[in-house]
């Protein structure tokens, strides 16, 4: 999952991956492995090495409020690219979640695919991302070839739901 946080006119690009109670967060070329749980709604207890962070997060109309160690930050989740896209699609859709390089195209036009099949592999920030079919369907267009540069939000392939 790729997220951009805006805070006081700065944007922070973060990737986070979850495996049960473990989270792998990459920011500014550093990976943080933390153990975390939501102990009650909005209350997080995060174990980062030997430290225990406690944080409370609530969502306002436009912003998130983050309480951490006595400080409060107002942060917005933002999209970085100018590409218009339906926000509802979100990650896991056919749009690239990150700006990077296409390292593999697993399908061709006309292929029938099943939900969950890998369609394209994108590499960015030393990590690789899988674009999967959100539904069963048929590939109608492929917008990028291997080694192409792709920007966040651009559509990787197009498909028709069956």
């Amino acid at each position: 999952m790729f997220i951009n946080y805006e805070h006081e006119n700065h944007v922070y690009n973060v990737t986070v991956e979850r495996r049960e109670k473990y989270f792998f967060i990459t920011y500014d070329n550093t990976e943080y492995r933390v153990e975390a749980e939501e102990i009650k709604p909005g209350h997080l207890k995060i174990k980062l090495g030997d430290r225990i962070l406690k944080s409370v997060i609530t969502e306002g109309e436009k912003e998130k409020y983050v309480f951490v160690e006595g400080d409060v930050f107002y942060v917005k989740n933002v999209e970085l690219t100018g590409t218009k896209k339906t926000k509802k699609e979100g990650e896991g859709s056919l749009n690239s979640p990150i700006s990077g390089k296409v390292v593999k195209v697993e399908v061709k036009v006309g292929d029938k695919v099943s939900k969950g099949d890998v369609l394209m592999v994108i590499e960015a920030m030393k990590m690789e991302y899988l674009i999967r079919a959100p539904d069963n369907g048929k590939i109608t267009k492929i917008n990028f070839n291997e080694n192409d540069q792709i920007e966040i939000g651009q559509t990787t392939v197009e498909m028709k739901k069956s």
Binding site: M1, F2, I3, Y5, H7, E8, H10, Y12, V14, V16, E17, R18, R19, F23, F24, I25, Y27, Y32, V34, A36, E38, G42, L44, I46, L48, L53, S55, V56, I57, T58, E59, G60, K64, Y65, V66, F67, V68, E69, G70, D71, V72, F73, Y74, V75, N77, G90, E91, G92, S93, P97, K104, E106, V118, V121, M127, E128, Y129, L130, R132, P134
Partner: protein, 501 residues
């Protein structure tokens, strides 16, 4: 109890505090509120409520005829004014008296006299209470002024009678430069204000604001409940108060306490009041003014003396005699209060309005939260932006500072900006911890303080990422790992390895 129903002519935490004190004593309570406060905590807990309408203070909480009329209509036999609003308005106290409603505070004449700062000082000087030495007479020739100046002593403040903004103001540290200072102040004053009259006043170095709590009953008994140190002020607004004062010793406390009682007795003071003093670096003290009401910072006195001031206000108004004698009052441990404001330290401490998305005060032994807020409450720009007072007590000052920092760090208020992180920084300042505080403290150490411009700390980024990850409804983009037969990801559910593709 003769009092059976008290109307509380206030809002916020102090209204809550007073209503609870009444209820504990079996007195019925009436809350008044303006339109925007109709769901405020004081309205929720009161027994009866009266809508004063328009939220502008002048139309509601400052509306004397409306409040008096409401009190009569609902059958209240007393009115507690809290602090602020009408608390020190002699006309209001008089209006209550006129219709036979007990005003919970001193009588209107005392309020009026203490409201006139010059008359108050004169009264105190005549009663033998020290006031800041000065000369504000008519003789304005240099030699007379030099003579008067020498009488007052050094350092000496020379200030333009018409002055303001530091213009026409000089500090003469010794006799050598007195004449020169007076002449230059006069010149500057003349050119700035067209008037060269100057006043002389002893200049206080390292000034502290230290006040004494007073209780007086209606039979002439007056006691003091020791001091509060209130030097930590931002733009003349107290933000951190404590008791005892770190500068106080047994001798000074005794002298100042006696002066405070003398001040109260000089005006026949009744009910709760506060005598404010300035204390200089040499521990000379001077009467500044008397506040004829319960103070915002009264809890630090309650916690160090064990005496419930709000209840005593009610008892005294009810005609009870002060059953506590001066020598029975024990000052014990240390208490600190922090005022939590809805204001944005990153933006010139401007008031911050909005909806409180989450309010979770810290809880635990010796932690007191006098607050008038709750999750979901709207903070409007109509009133004082104080959200809450956090007060803790501990065995000594060091532990008390650590404890209140700990508690502040756990006070969750989301939705409006607050001064909590600023308060923590002040409390944690080395000079504060040493007790080296003056009324210039914030100016000296935090003049240009701006809340972290260092941006989002990694802790916040991690917390946000975890939160978004947990709450994401979309499928996760899974990580594509290099082929490693020993990878722990191999057999883990959604996680897939490159080789599988």
């Amino acid at each position: 109890m003769m009092l059976t129903k008290v109307l509380v002519a206030n809002r916020g935490e102090i209204a809550v505090r007073i209503i609870r004190a009444c209820q504990e004593m079996g007195i019925n309570t009436v809350a008044v509120y303006s339109e925007v406060d109709k769901e405020a905590p004081h309205v929720q807990i009161a027994d009866e409520t009266i809508n004063l309408g328009d939220p502008t203070p002048i139309a509601s909480y400052l509306n004397i005829p409306k409040i008096i009329e409401s009190a009569q209509k609902i059958g209240a036999d007393a009115i507690h004014p809290g602090y602020g609003f009408l608390a020190e308005n002699p006309d209001f106290a008089q209006s209550c008296e006129d219709v036979g409603i007990k005003f919970i505070g001193p009588n209107p004449k005392v309020i009026s006299l203490m409201g006139d700062k010059i008359a108050a000082k004169k009264t105190m000087k005549n009663a033998g209470v020290p006031v800041i030495p000065g000369y504000s007479g008519e003789k304005q020739d240099i030699s007379s002024l030099v003579k008067e100046g020498k009488k007052i002593g050094f350092p000496l403040l020379v200030k333009a009678a018409a002055g303001g903004g530091g213009k026409g103001m000089r500090i003469a540290h010794s006799e050598d430069i007195l004449e020169e200072s007076i002449e230059s102040a006069k010149r500057e004053s003349k050119s700035a204000f067209g008037n060269d009259t100057v006043f002389l006043e002893k200049y206080l170095e390292k000034p502290r604001h230290i006040e004494f709590q007073i209780l007086g009953d209606e039979y002439g008994n007056v006691i003091h409940l020791f001091e509060r140190e209130c030097s930590i002020q931002r733009r003349h607004q107290k933000i951190i108060e404590e008791s005892p004062s770190p500068v106080m010793d047994v001798k000074l406390r005794k002298k100042m306490g006696e002066a405070a009682i003398k001040a109260a007795e000089a005006v026949g003071y009744t009910n709760a009041g506060t005598v404010e003093f300035m204390v200089d670096g040499d521990l000379n003290f001077y009467f500044m003014e008397m506040n004829t009401r319960l103070q915002v910072e009264h809890p630090v006195t309650e916690l160090t003396t064990g005496i419930d001031l709000a209840k005593w206000q009610l008892k005294i108004a009810d005609g009870k005699e002060l059953s506590i004698k001066q020598n029975q009052i024990m000052q014990r441990g240390h208490a600190i209060e922090c005022r939590i404001y809805a204001e944005d330290p990153a933006n010139g401490f401007l008031p911050s309005v909005g909806t409180l998305q989450k309010v979770e005060p810290p809880r635990g032994p010796n932690i007191r939260d006098d607050s008038g807020i709750y999750t979901g409450m709207k903070i409007t720009p109509y009133y004082d932006p104080m959200l809450s007072k956090l007060i803790v007590n501990a065995e000594n000052r060091d532990e008390c500072i650590n404890k209140i920092i700990w508690a502040l760090s756990r006070y969750v208020i989301l939705g409006v900006k607050t001064n909590i992180s600023f308060l923590i920084k002040v409390l944690d300042h080395m000079e504060f911890r040493k007790g080296n505080i003056t009324t210039h403290f914030i100016d000296n150490y935090f003049k240009d303080w701006i809340s972290s411009k260092k941006g989002l700390p990694i802790e916040a980024i991690i917390a946000l990422s975890v939160y978004d990850s947990i709450h994401s409804r979309t499928e996760e983009v899974v990580r594509y790992k290099e082929s490693d037969p020993h990878s722990p990801w191999k057999h883990v559910g959604r996680w897939r390895m490159g080789v599988e593709i």
